[in-house]
Structures are given as structure tokens and as C-alpha cells.
Amino acid sequence: MAEAHPVGFQWVMEAKARGAKVIHVDPRFTRTSAVADTFVPLRVGSDIVFLGAIINYVLQNELDFREYVVAYTNAATIVSEDFRDTEDLGGLFSGFDPESRTYDPVSWQYDGQEQEGGERQDHEQQRDTASALQHETHGMSIDSDIRRDETLQDPNCVYQVLKRHYARYTPEMVEEACGVSREAFQEVCDAWVSNSGRERTTALIYSVGWTQHSVGVQYIRAGAILQLLLGNMGRPGGGIMALRGHASIQGSTDIPTLFNILPGYIPMPNALDHGSLREWIDSVRHPGAKGFWDNAGAYGINLLKAYWGDAATAENDFCFDYLPKITGDHGTYRTVLDMIDGKVKGYFLLGQNPAVGSAHGRAQRLGMANLDWLVVRDLFEIESATFWKNSPEIETGEIVPEECRTEVFLIPAASHVEKEGTFTQTQRMLQWREKAVEPPGDCRSELWFFYHLGRLIRERLADSSDDRDRPVLDLSWDYLPEGEHDEPSAEIVLKEVNGYEIATGRPLSSFLEMKDDGSTLGGCWIYTGVFKDGVNQAARRKSRHEQSWVAPEWGWAWPANRRTLYNRASADPDGKPWSERKAYVWWDEEAGEWTGHDVPDFEKNKPPSYRAPEGSSGIAAIEGNDPFIMQGDGKGALYVPQGLIDGPMPTHYEPVESPFRNPLYRQQSNPTRMEYVRSDNRINPSPPEDNSEVFPYVFTTSRLTEHHTAGGMSRYLQYLSELQPEMFIEVSPELAAERGLEHMGWCHVVTSRTAVEGKVMVTERLSPLRVEGRVVHQVWLPYHWGSGGMVTGDSANDLFGISLDPNVLIQESKVGTCDVRPGRRPSGQALLDYVAGYQSRAGVDDDHYVSIVTPAKAGEKSGAAPTDEESSP
């Protein structure tokens, strides 16, 4: 955190000042470790063993916050007796289909729900369209009246299922798989547990490198399970927060730049299932299910009205047919491979530098070199705009500048201080930025660019009678450009995002005011209220000294300015604070309403004692003690029957590329991961495959404080470039000796994709670990450099192949296997031959690909782990 988020880290230092103990778990000793009280190095990609073992420790010793767990989580819910765990099936859950490598989740459902929940599931399609997680954000479709055993004794209740699932995740296993000593592990357990409960809460804060794994979503899930078991959700000082690499990544998922969701996490309709507005709406609101998604109709229709204004009427389904429909995987990596295959003509890049920043840089560049046109909007002329003349592929002859067909339009962008608008940070808080200075020269804001691009296209099509042009022509496209540059008003856009009553123009104050009859419109239902009373709430700047410690009048947080989600959980089932120290939101008996320091994330007047009447659904079905109001059953999900492609509970799978055999299961790595099996995406072999020793070392990448991600905002600035002026590769003294690497000499790292060179940085900050009885060396690379800017170097991300988490299609770009050699890498054709040599030695050339589902060895009884570990501590 000190490395990538030094400004945010000031609060960690303040926490230390108040007596907090800082424990840093990381493959390498970083600037954070330098000021941490305890540093715990672990093997990259072994996180679920580590977290799972803490879960096991909590369950075995019954250290969970029992009252909270019983009342607010699905611990008591009974799971279908058809369910089979990874313990029984060698690392697979029940319902696995080796052909499609996906699950039929019917047996995962709650008891009696099998068909209800199961039938809506087509994991293969969900994986392609990254739509599985809509259940996470939209709540599971659970019908009321599910069986629960609040004694938690029923062998099929979630609590017991969880306990069995993690029984073999022991301190010994942590030592074995993570290379973490038992003492260090125990220290982490004690710290986490002792800082949770009635009187204390623990926040889990991760940076997005945690998500870049083939089991990334399950990493976060494991954290969520722990936080729920320890009662750290919905309470002050608790929660799970992601530190993003950029200022408004939260904002860019709320109002997404993603192919699979629309603003407010409304799923993108797909051509197969959503022929009509009704079908689409119902797929979101799950008629009969509990929760606020019951209003999905209003949210969707208000969005359509925001897009097409007067043209959107009840008669024409509010122009639902105008919405593009997805037909499969349109994720960024699929798109890049389609570009290579010539299936994509044009591409927009906005403040993104995939030539350096994305996994498998070579594929990225070859893809971009095979377009008709490419629009790049950035602050500087980044590699993604110059790949056709200075990428590594020029040397190898794979791209020939004279012949590269892509026409690149480089358009200068305004920086964050040169335009107004909002940032949405990890706490879902919108903060308005004023424009500090006019952008120089032709630099313009994104808003300006898209407004005028739309305007020009609409002018071109003005007299078209072609139906396919209607969606563009019917758009309501009036944002009152003003000033010498015709800059559209960002406030007007925010007003539209907030939503208003069409007749009167009165801004809506809450999404509860959204109507599904077309009388209101709103661009993002969760943002409704940010323009409450016609006031730009995001621009509020009231000093924290002049308001409560929750500071509700600083900026604005969605939904409805709630600073802590699900904060009903900060009070006990009867509505009383768990403790005075942690009082946050509680039920005021006299006033008959929820009150407290924050805006209650609950129906204001619904008493704790409220019980849903028979057959009720939607909001009415949320009971007075159901804090997780967006969930289908109102409960926090320790176990997830729907919404996860790779299983209802986090399970340790080795990284796609690992020098080690999975110590827990026969199944080596995530069997459901998305992988593009093709000759330009070779994957290094891992046990039990042969030849894994060709790539004996583990490597990982991350950021340096001195540079920003792909370097587009740092390598072009002298004051940052001079601080880290050259690509380097960190190795331990032991590895240096083993491979004959010299401090500040050259070395190169090889995978079956390519080789990357840099100066050797020999440092004790990297330490060999003993894993599964042998020593593993880990190599660390910063990924900031490319062929452009004031300081240049090879791009570490070129080393990665493309294999993705099945739930969200995020690439595994934080761990891989490699070889390390002294000296510079070959260049030109020699480089291709060099890599080809490694491929053939590793047996991943021609049509040999690593198998994703690990075959059962003859005589191996399913479920038996390859190691001799026995369950139970």
C-alpha cells in the first residue's frame, strides 16, 4: 500500500499512531513492510490456502461472532443434500461437466430450491458473458421460506458445509503451501480475531492485484467469508475495500466501461434470453424474490428514458430494442484475439495503454496492428499509439511500419485538473472536481470528445431513413455546450444521471421516486440523490470539524448518501447497537424509526420485529433482521449457491502456471477458468504435466511508487522518470548465485510467450521460501516500462499469457512461472527462436496444450489429496 498508494497510506500510519499493529503479507518486502510491525512473505498465488486456514481456525475454535453469524448470514441455511464438496471429488464440486468445464449448479442450491435457483443457471453462457456476478450485485434469486437450523448443527447447514470444506486448511498446510511459518500464521489469526467482535472491527483493504488471478473473485470471497464470520460487515471500521489503481475506477464500474453491465449494475441484455423489455427486467428482479431489485423495472426504464427521452414510450418498450444486445464473450481479451484474427475493424483507447499495461503485450500490439483504425486519447503519445513504429515486434519483423494497415488517430486529452466532473472512490463517494486550469492546445475532456463525436455522427445521419440509424438519431443529446471550446456542462450530465421528473424537471431525491411509467428518467439509479434538491451534493466540502465523525456532508456516497452499506448490521437483531463503542445505526423505539450517525441502509420505519407475511416478495419480504437487503434472502452469503462459476466456496487451486502440485486436491488449477487455447497464447506446463521444471521460478509483478501503471502518466515526466529510470528485475542473493546474476548487470526472464530483459537488482528483500519441501525462488518485476517516454525498457506484462477468472474475465497477471538467465535477451528473429526453443523443451509447441482438467491417475481414489496431509488440527 505504501508502494502503490502512499497518500492513502498516511491513514495507516495514523492508525499505527493510535496503537494499531500493521501486519504485511506479501511475496516481497516492500516500502509497506519497512514500516510494518510484522512482515509475512508468502508464495504468490497461495492466498486461498492462507485465508482458508484462518477460516478453518475460526470455525474449529468457534471464534466466530455467533450471534451475528446466525442472524445475519446464511450460516444456518440448509444446503441441498445432493451437494458434493471438493473434499469428495478431488477438487471439483458436484455437477461438473468436463466437456464444457462448467458446473450444473442445481446441486449447489439451498434445500428445496434446486429447480428454482438451478434452472436460471447456464454457467457456460454466464462465463462467456461475465454475467454470473449479477447475482452477487443483484442478489440470489431465492424464494422465501427456506429451511434454516439456527443451532448450526444440521450436517447440511452452510456452517457445517463450510467447516468440512476447510478442515484440511491447517497451519501445517499453510507452512507447506504458502511457505509461511506457523508462528507468523498464528500471529495473523490472533490479530484478526482479537480485533473483531462486539467491541472491535477489522477492515479488509486489498489492492486490485488481488483480483488478477484465475481465482481472483474467490480471493475476495474468502476475505468476505472471514469478515462475515467475524461480524465485520455493515459496521463502522469494518468492511472490504479495494484500493484502485486510478482515481475513479469505482465510478467506471458504477457507470461502467464494461461490456456486460449497464449503469447501476443492470445486466446488459443478451440476444438469446432477452427478447423483450419484460424478459430483461424479470431476469434482474427475479419475481417473487426478496430485495430491492424488485424495482428493477423502474431502474431499467428510467435508464432507457435517459438515453432516448421522448422517443422512449411505453408503446415501444421504451426503445428497449435500441439497446445493443450481447451474444457472447466481448471481453477485452476476446476482442484483442479477434483483432488478431481480423474480426475487428476499429478500436477506441481512452486513457489506457494496453501495449504496456495489459497481459500478453505482444498479442495486444499484434491485434492493434491489424485494425482499420484506432483512436487513442491520452496525455502523451503512448506506446499504444506508436506500436506500429517502435514496438518489439518491429525488431522481430512481425510488424512492418510500411505495411501496418492500422490508421492511428492520436487525440490529446485533458488531465483531471483541466476538466470538471466527479471522482467516485472506493467508499462509493462521489467528489466533485472543479477545473483548475484550461487544457493546453487541442486537449479536450472525454465529455467534450464524446458529445461532439455524437453530434457529428448524428449530423451525418440526419437524413437517413435506415432503421439501424434510429438508435443514434433518437438519442436525447443536449448537454448545452458552452464556452469558447463548446464544452458540454458536466453538471447537466450529473443532473441526468441523478434523474428527474420529466414534467416538472424536479430532480429525484431517491431511487424510490423512480417510476416505471415513463414519467421520470435517470441515468444511474444508484446515483439518484446526488443532485437532490437541485444541489450538486458531490460538491459539498463541509469541514469534518463542523459535522459528525461520519462526515455525511463531505461529497456524496451512493446509495442515498450511505457511508457504510448494509449498516443495519451495526445493530443487533433487536435493533440495539452491538456495543456503545461501535454504535452506528440503531432502532429508536419511541420515534419508531431507524436512526444513528449514518443514513440507515434499511427501510426507515420497518421495526426489527417485522416478519414477512406469507407469500410476500420484494422489499416487503425483507424482514426486520435482514440487513443484506440486496440479497435474495437478506443474509450475508458465506456460501454462494448462485453467481459463481467456479464454486460456492473459495477453494485453493494452484495458479495456472505453478512449479508445484496442488497440495490439497487432485485438480491442479481452476478447472472453469476462461482460457483461449491457441498457438499465440502458450501456457507454461505445471505439475502433474511434464517439463514444468523448464520454468522453475515463480514471478510476480507490481507497481513502484515512482511510476503509474503502464507509465503513460509518469515515464513522460522528467521528475518521475529520473526516480526509476530503467527496467530492473529483483532477485534474492541466493537466486543470483544460483543463476550467476550480477548486481546491476543484465538478466532476462523467459516464459513461453517471450523474454524480457532488465538490470539485476540483487536484494535481501526477496527471500527464497520452502514450499512442499523444496526451495522456491520468486522473481519480482515492475511493469511500468515500454518503448516510449523519457525512460524506456521491456514490458513485464509481455511475459504473461491470457487465462482469465471465469466470473469476471480478469486475467491472471500477478503470477506465472519463468526461467531467469544472465545477460541480455536475444532480439529480432533470434528472440522468436529462443522462445520457441523453450516452448519445445516445455512440450507446449505444435498442437500440444496443457490440460486444464487434471486427469485422475489410475488407482487414485478421488478426494485423496496428493500430499499425506491429514485433516484436523
Binding site: T38, T705, P733, H743, E764, S767, R770
Partner: protein
């Protein structure tokens, strides 16, 4: 004229320079125990003061690629990787012991020293020290004393500042500084202030505007604290006591003693190791402390020269 203690010993520089009731002396207390090495101070300093870059050289000195304070680096963050404990910190490295007969901890320049010590130890100590260095704004500033043009001057805040429009680049201040801070800027004719002595001004222009110096403003952990020197010295002493109570016995103050060789510094530090580990002189003395004697010796020599020459003309003419 030469006031009391103008060469050595405690002194409040601004009044002793002749300012009539100046503001309290301003300075830095840099607490290296909470520095996270983000280098925001280096960048903020260069942005505000328009200091040119210091060259793009990977030095291999841990994460230090600017090397030292000089004409083009007025704040410099040092990085030191050590086989030493930091209080009760559990560095966690090299456990369980890996018996490879491999080289042990490298020296500070990162090269592995030939030894197999690590093989036998279970958990060697390790710590990563970071420290942001800056001009000390000495009570007795040699650079200022020896400046022949009066370009270097003492401000009302007790700080020492170069007037670039007066400095003629004689370079005398460079070897005079006991910390090796000030330097004459090299570069081609176009470069700003080329050929002129350059160093931290403690953001004189910002102080005039009632602002904190850029580096202190940018420091995210308040490792760099700006304020009145008297108050900062108390703060520093309290901090060092707290650390000692916490068992971090390495903590010590550097530059805060008004009786030291430079009369105490306006910018002083809390260090976790000997000063020389950070590239600081362990017991610096302002060279002008000895200036009176130097002139005496020189005068004697001059007289001797006169006499010697005269003697040679005595006696025989041819």
C-alpha cells in the same frame, strides 16, 4: 561585524545577523522512522523550485536513483537495506532457514557479500531504512561565511538562501559545506542558473506567503515536519523518548544540539543508525570555527616572508 559566537556555539542566527525582532526561526524536523520512501518531497521540491532533473541513471543503490543532495536535487531520499533489527519488528525474511550455502546479505550497494552466514541463521534481522535529506540551514553556515559576494544570505527566518542574481559562481561554498549539500550547477548555457551555487531555500518564497515548504506539504506521513525550530526540537526529543521506551534504542537525533560543531542545524533529523550510514558526517564542524587562528598563522607567515626577503639582502652585495 563579528558578534559573539558568530563562528561557533549557540546562537539565534536571524537576530545575531542584525534583524530587528524577526519571526521565530523556521526549520525541518525529518523523522526518518515514519518515512515510507515515496519521494514526494523530491518531486514537490523540483516542481516548486523548477530544479532540473538529475539525469536518468539507475544507481543500484536500493531505490535511490538520485544519489545525493546536489545542485539538481535539493531533497534526497536515501534507502538503506540492512542486516539489523528494527525494534521488535518481525522482518520475516529467510524463514524457514534455507540452507543453500548461498551468499549472505549484501553490503549497502546490494552486492551479495561472499559468505554463507545466512545458511546457519534461522531468521536474520533485516530492515529497510529510508530518510529524506535536505540542506541543514546551519546556525553557523560555512557556505554563507565564505561567500565573497554576499549572494548567500541569512533570511529573517534564520534560513540560508542563495541569491542567484548575485552569485558569480566562485564555487567557494561548495568545499566549505561540511555536509556536501551546496553545489554549482552544471549544464549547457540554456540551463536555469547554470554555473551558480544551488541548494534548498526552505522555500523562502512560500514562507513569505505563509505556506509550508513544498516537501513538507507533500509528505504523506508527516515524516517531514516544518515549524519553529524551538518547538520542533522539543517535539523531536519527545519522539525519541517514545521510541526508546518502545525498545527502539537505535533512535537518535542528529543536528538538534545547539552546542555541536555547527551550532545546531535548522533542519535536523531523527535517525535509526549512525549518521554516516545515511551519508551524513558523524561530527561535522563549521570550518570557520578555526578561521581566526588561520588568519593568525597566515599573518605570522606573511611577516616571516617579509623578514626572510629582507634578510636575503643583508651582507654581501654580490
Amino acid at each position: 561585524m563579528i558578534a559573539k559566537n558568530s563562528f561557533f556555539g549557540p546562537s539565534d542566527p536571524a537576530p545575531d545577523t542584525g534583524y530587528k525582532d524577526p519571526p521565530p526561526r523556521k526549520g525541518f524536523f525529518t523523522d526518518t522512522s515514519i518515512c515510507i520512501g515515496c519521494k514526494a518531497c523530491e518531486v514537490a521540491c523540483k516542481e516548486w523550485n523548477e530544479v532540473p532533473d538529475d539525469g536518468f541513471n539507475l544507481l543500484g543503490m536500493s531505490y535511490d536513483n538520485t544519489g545525493s543532495l546536489n545542485a539538481d536535487t535539493w531533497r534526497h531520499v536515501a534507502f538503506i537495506e540492512q542486516r539489523k533489527p528494527l525494534g521488535h519488528q518481525q522482518p520475516g525474511l529467510r524463514q524457514p532457514a534455507v540452507d543453500l550455502g548461498m551468499p549472505a546479505m549484501g553490503s549497502t550497494n546490494g552486492e551479495p557479500a561472499a559468505s554463507t552466514a545466512v545458511a546457519t541463521e534461522e531468521t536474520p534481522d533485516f530492515r529497510w531504512l529510508m530518510s529524506s535529506d535536505v540542506c541543514k540551514h546551519c546556525t553557523h553556515a560555512a557556505c554563507l561565511d565564505v561567500c565573497p559576494t554576499g549572494s548567500l544570505f541569512r533570511t529573517e527566518f534564520g534560513t540560508v538562501v542563495v541569491q542567484p542574481d548575485i552569485c558569480n559562481g566562485c564555487g567557494y561554498c561548495v568545499p566549505a559545506c561540511p555536509y556536501g549539500v551546496i553545489e554549482r550547477r552544471k549544464g549547457d548555457a540554456g540551463t536555469k542558473n547554470v554555473g551558480i551555487a544551488q541548494k534548498c531555500t526552505l522555500c523562502y518564497d512560500r514562507l513569505d506567503a505563509g505556506q509550508r515548504p513544498a516537501c513538507a506539504q507533500a509528505c504523506p506521513t508527516e515524516s517531514i515536519q516544518f515549524g519553529d525550530v524551538d518547538e520542533l526540537r522539543e517535539r523531536a526529543q519527545a519522539r525519541v523518548d517514545t521510541l526508546h521506551e518502545a525498545g527502539i534504542m537505535d533512535a537518535r537525533l542528529y543536528g538538534n544540539d545547539p552546542n555541536d560543531g555547527v551550532g545546531g542545524t535548522g533542519a535536523f533529523f531523527l535517525l535509526l543508525d549512525e549518521p554516516e550510514v545515511y551519508g551524513l558526517p558523524p561530527d561535522p564542524v563549521v570550518t570557520t570555527r578555526d578561521l581566526p587562528q588561520m588568519f593568525n598563522h597566515a599573518a605570522t607567515a606573511a611577516a616571516a616572508m617579509l623578514v626572510g626577503a629582507a634578510l636575503s639582502f643583508l651582507g654581501r652585495r654580490r
